[in-house]
Structure formats: C-alpha cells, structure tokens
C-alpha cells in the first residue's frame, strides 16, 4: 500500500488551532482520567497490601465492625494481653505488643494558624518492632515527657505532600500543634508503600492527652509462627474476657476486610472515571470527526489521484495518533507531577496516587484507544462516501 507523506499528517494538525486545542484537551482529559484512576486503584492496592503483615494480629473493640475509626478499647488491654496470652514474642524482655490510637486530627504547622487534618498515630516504642516497614531515616523516635513545654513527634516522609505543604515544612525542629498541644518534630520516617508513611507519630499518652481521649484504637500483637502465640490463642482470650470487649483479627484479615470495604469505592472510581472519559471520548471523537469530515473533498481528490482507502485511513490514524500521543504524554506528565504521592486519608491511613509504570501505561493505552477509535470512526464515515460524492462536498 502506498502511503501519503507523513508531513501531510503532521501539517494537517495545524489546520485549525481551535479544533486542535479541543481535540488535544479531550485526549488529555481521557488519558489523565485513566492515569489518575489507575494510579488511585494501584495506590489502594499497594497500601492495603504493603501495610499487612502475616505475623501480626490486630485487636479492636468488639463493636467496631472491623473499623479502626469506630474502635475503642481500654489502654490496659495491651498489658493484659502481654501478661495473659502465653507465647507472645518478646525482644529484650519487651513483649511485642503495640497499643495504638489512630485519629484524624486538626494540626497546625509552624506559624500557619490554618489547621490541616492529619492522621496522627499515638504509639509506644514497640510500634517500630510491630511495623518493621517503618524506619526512622532522620532524627530519632519521639520520647514521652521529654519536655514540659512540648511533646515530641516524628513525621512520615509523605506527610508534607499529604498535607499540601511545601518540601521542608516538616523538617526536624518544626513545631506542630495537635488539637492545641505543642509538639516538636524530632524524627522523620519512611514506610514505603504503606498507609502509614503520610502519618504523624507521637507518644501514645501525649496523643491521648492532646485529643482528650481515654481509649485507644487498637493493639497490634506479634504472633509467633514457631509454636508460640497464635491467632487462635488471642481469639480464645478475647472470647474468655468478654469484659474487655475486644475482637481479634490477623492484620491480613483486617486489610482484606478494608479491601472489601473499599470495593464499592473502587468501582465508583472506575465508573466515575469511565463516565467522564466517555464524555471526553465522545467530545474528542466529535472534534476529530468534524476535522476529518471538513476534508471530504480532499479525501475524494486523494482517491481520485490513486491513493487507496487504506492510505487515507492510515493517514488519519497517524494524525490522530500524533495528537493523542502528545496529549497522553502531557497527561501522564501532569499526573506524575501533580498527583503522584498525593494521598486520600481514611481511618487506617492514606491511599496515595501511585503514578507508576502501570498507571502511565493505562493513560497511554487510553490515549491510543481514543486515537484509533477516532481515526477509524471518522475515516470510515468519510470513506463511506463514493469518490464523486466526496468531490462534490463543500
């Protein structure tokens, strides 16, 4: 098949700046939506997978329906568990039991009086042992009662992004006010891919005091795969001690339940993105169709010269691909710059948009699909006319 010159496709793009802009915007929107939706779904998956540890159990309030946000248990449950359930692993005499209070609280950063809603986790030092993915990369773990004037806190590396703060806003020494109580950032931690990386961690008692709360959210307990404490032991303990009003899940089960909980949200994301994308696709198709339809006489002329329908179709596809490729690349670059790492908070942590290779591929694939669909629909509509009909077109 003899092809039309490539320059023909390239120069055709500049024929109508308005149409070019509209088609570019439509393709950009489609690719950006696909990238963003894929990035969010991937972020959810990764966060919920990376945060779960096979060797941990999580103890929640029995009426919480597996929701950390609703869960309230007495702080004493942690020590009761450590003392009562045999076989809980220990390091240097410290049982691997981590009482934690997780709350979304208003936090003021530095001199900015505007409160921002941040996920704050009250923890004890054992938390680092129960969450091995968390690693202090700068400064140190916050200590309780280090100063009468201010508590101490450490922040996840993604907290600044989560709180829409410029880089360096939560550096060591920064003062933050949690519910009016002063804290100083003494450490920064990473927890790659987990829901915890955008959080602020502070000593459990300081967080409870700041939040004026007397109950904690959960106790994370290490299980012993080598014959020590098993999930069944904890479950049996919870069944015996009804007065404590606790329920036991493995961390895997907990995050699996979260995944089930968020399944409708995932569908909503997909459906919402698809609906908007369909609108954008139709808009883009309409623009492409109008652009190609206005060239009916030209298409007829090319065919009269001896160019086949395939050559015209290929030329339309090239033109459409050039446009949508540019728009798709712009879309994934924009998503990468604006969305990557941006989190959406929920009770147990944050889902961060992950604009990785898969999300980029989704965006580019959406752009490619639009290009081919646009070219095919428009070209077939144009080529349906006979050559004499096309030559008579205005």
């Amino acid at each position: 098949m003899r092809r039309l010159p490539f320059e023909y496709s390239v120069r055709n793009l500049g024929r109508s700046p308005l149409r070019l802009s509209l088609a570019f915007a439509g393709a950009l929107l489609v690719a950006a939506l696909a990238t963003a939706a894929a990035a969010l779904l991937l972020g959810m998956d990764r966060a919920l997978s990376a945060s779960a540890l096979h060797a941990n159990a999580i103890v929640l309030g029995s009426g919480s329906e597996e929701s950390l946000e609703r869960s309230e248990i007495q702080p004493a449950v942690a020590s009761i568990l450590a003392a009562s359930v045999p076989g809980i692993p220990a390091i240097a005499g410290t049982a691997l039991v981590s009482p934690e209070a997780v709350m979304a609280l208003p936090v003021e950063i530095g001199d900015d009086p505007e409160p921002r809603r941040a996920l704050v986790r009250g923890v004890e030092p054992a938390a680092l042992l129960l969450h091995p993915g968390v690693r202090v990369v700068e400064g140190r773990f916050p200590e309780r009662g280090a100063s009468d004037l201010a508590g101490e806190a450490m922040v996840g590396l993604r907290a600044e992004r989560q709180l829409a703060l410029p880089p360096g806003s939560l550096s060591l020494g920064t003062r933050v006010r949690i519910e009016g109580s002063e804290f100083v950032v003494v450490g920064r931690f990473e927890a790659p891919g987990s829901v915890m990386e955008p959080e602020i961690w502070a000593p459990l008692s300081d967080v409870l005091a700041a939040a004026k709360r007397t109950t904690i959210s959960c106790v994370v307990v290490a299980l012993d795969p080598e014959g020590g404490a098993a999930l069944q032991d904890l479950a049996a303990f919870a069944a015996r001690r009804l007065d404590l009003e606790i329920a036991v899940l493995s961390e895997e089960e907990y995050f699996a339940s979260l995944r089930r909980f968020f399944a409708p949200l995932r569908w909503m994301i997909v459906v919402a993105a698809a609906l908007v994308a369909i609108g954008a696709v139709l808009g883009g198709l309409n623009t492409l169709h109008a652009a190609f339809a206005s060239r009916s006489r030209e298409v007829g002329t090319l065919q009269a010269l001896g160019y086949g329908r395939g050559a015209v179709l290929l030329s339309f596809a090239q033109e459409s691909l050039l446009l949508t490729a540019a728009a798709s690349i712009a879309a994934v670059l924009l998503c990468r710059a604006l969305l990557d790492g941006v989190g959406i908070a929920f009770s147990m942590g944050t889902f961060a948009f992950r604009v990785d290779a898969t999300a980029v591929a989704a965006g580019l694939a959406a752009g490619l699909a639009l290009a081919l669909l646009g070219a095919l629909v428009s070209a077939l509509a144009s080529l349906r006319r006979t050559i004499p009909e096309a030559l008579r077109a205005p």
Partner: protein, 244 residues
C-alpha cells in the same frame, strides 16, 4: 483502436423511490491525441461520463474500455492503481491539498510510483515549468491566485504522463483572463505534446478550443461538432455512436 471505447454505457442511481439515469446507453469512441469538449445542460450526463472515464465511478451497464483496459472488470484496488497511472483530472475548484506546497502537490501522485527521488524531482520540476508555475513551487495554495492554483493542478495532472487528461470545468471558477491562459495551456498540451484531453464545460468559447464538441442530452450524445480549424466546423446529427 480508439483510446476510449464506450458501448451502451449506462449509469443509474436511486434517489428514494426514484431511479435517475444520467447516462443511458451511450456509445462513444475517442481517439488518442484528441481534444474533446463535453457540453450539455445540467443533468445531461457530462459529469457522470467524466467520472466513469476517470475510474472514480462504475457503470451500471455497458462497457468502458480505456487504453485497452475494461474498467468494469477492475477491482477497487486495481482501479485505484489504474487511476494513478493512466488518468488525471483537473477540477473546477483545483482541489489542491492546502497543507502541501505547490511542489508537494505536484509530487503527490508520483509518490504512488516507484521512482528514484532524483527522477521524481526532475519530473515535478518539468511539470511545474510546463504549466508556467515553477517560480511559485514553494508557495502554499492559499498564497496563490485562482489561475495559479489551476496551473499547479494542471502540473499535478500531467506529472504522471497520463494517457487521458480530464478537465471538469477547468475555467469555471476563473476570471476571463485567467481562463484564457488556462485554455491556452490545455491547448498547447494537446497541440505540442499530443495529449488526449476530455473537458467538460458550459462555456462555448472554451469548447471552441477543442477539436470536437460532444453535446450530451438525456444521457446520450445528441450532437457532435468537429472542428478542423478555429473557425471551421462540421455538425453531425444525433446518432447512436459518437466518434471524436
């Protein structure tokens, strides 16, 4: 053997319930090297005949042989290939590709042929020079006047050395002076290079440039006017087979 040989050439269309028959059993021979004008009222079948000769439409019945090839027997792809080698059309509205320069427009049909770049260039330059438009080779169509655009279109039409050059009202969109110069160019292509030209026109003065004028009515040749010189002509009555 004539270059064009049409027998019982019929073309019908359906428009709703109605059947339209712009060509109704037309018989026609056109010898190679002739310059023939087609005239007739609207709906007489001029444009339909031109489309069939150009291989961009197919007859409903009858046969059409051009340069020894029965066009009705060719597939869509073969017909496209045939068009690229054997026939060229000059359109009333020039139909240049607006995003290509004059040079590129003329080069466009040659890209369908296996030609070395140098040979292609030489042929494009020759065609542009022949059409007296080489000095505007790097201009876009929007930068050219109507007459200049039509010269580029004629250069595009002759660059492939077609057996048959068709012109559909080539002066219909031009002022008198530009029209005369385009007719001069077509006449010289016929006179100096022996090209076979079939031109549809409504303009009797344009038709006078041709060696013969076929008057079409109701899908048939109603009258043939043959000219041996500018002023001299002979008329043949309506018949079933026109020879030009």
């Amino acid at each position: 053997m004539p270059l064009v040989e049409a027998r019982g050439l019929t073309r019908t269309y359906r428009k709703g319930e109605q059947e339209i028959r712009p060509l109704d059993g037309l018989d026609l021979d056109i010898d190679a090297g002739r310059f023939v004008a087609l005239m007739g009222p609207s709906g007489s079948g001029k444009s339909t005949l031109l489309n069939l000769l150009a291989g961009i439409d197919r007859p409903t019945a009858g046969s059409l042989v051009v340069d020894g090839v029965d066009l009705a027997a060719l597939s869509r792809r073969e017909l496209a290939e045939w068009r690229s080698r054997k026939v060229s059309i000059v359109f009333q509205l020039y139909n240049l590709v607006p995003v290509l320069t004059a040079y590129e427009n003329v080069e466009l049909p040659l890209l369908l042929h296996d030609l070395p770049r140098r040979e292609r260039h030489a042929r494009v330059v020759r065609a542009l020079e022949r059409a007296h438009i080489a000095h505007r080779h790097d201009h876009m169509p929007r930068q050219l006047s109507g007459g200049e655009e039509q010269r580029v279109a004629i250069a595009r039409a002759i660059v492939t050395e077609p057996a048959l050059l068709l012109a559909d009202e080539p002066t219909g969109d031009l002022d008198r002076s530009s029209a005369e110069s385009i007719l001069d160019l077509l006449s010289s292509l016929h006179r100096d290079e022996g090209r076979t030209i079939v031109m549809v026109t409504h303009d009797p003065r344009a038709a006078e440039r041709a060696q013969a004028t076929l008057h079409l009515e109701k899908g048939r040749v109603a009258e043939t006017i043959a000219r041996t010189g500018a002023k001299e002509s002979s008329r043949a009555p309506a018949n079933t087979e026109a020879h030009a």
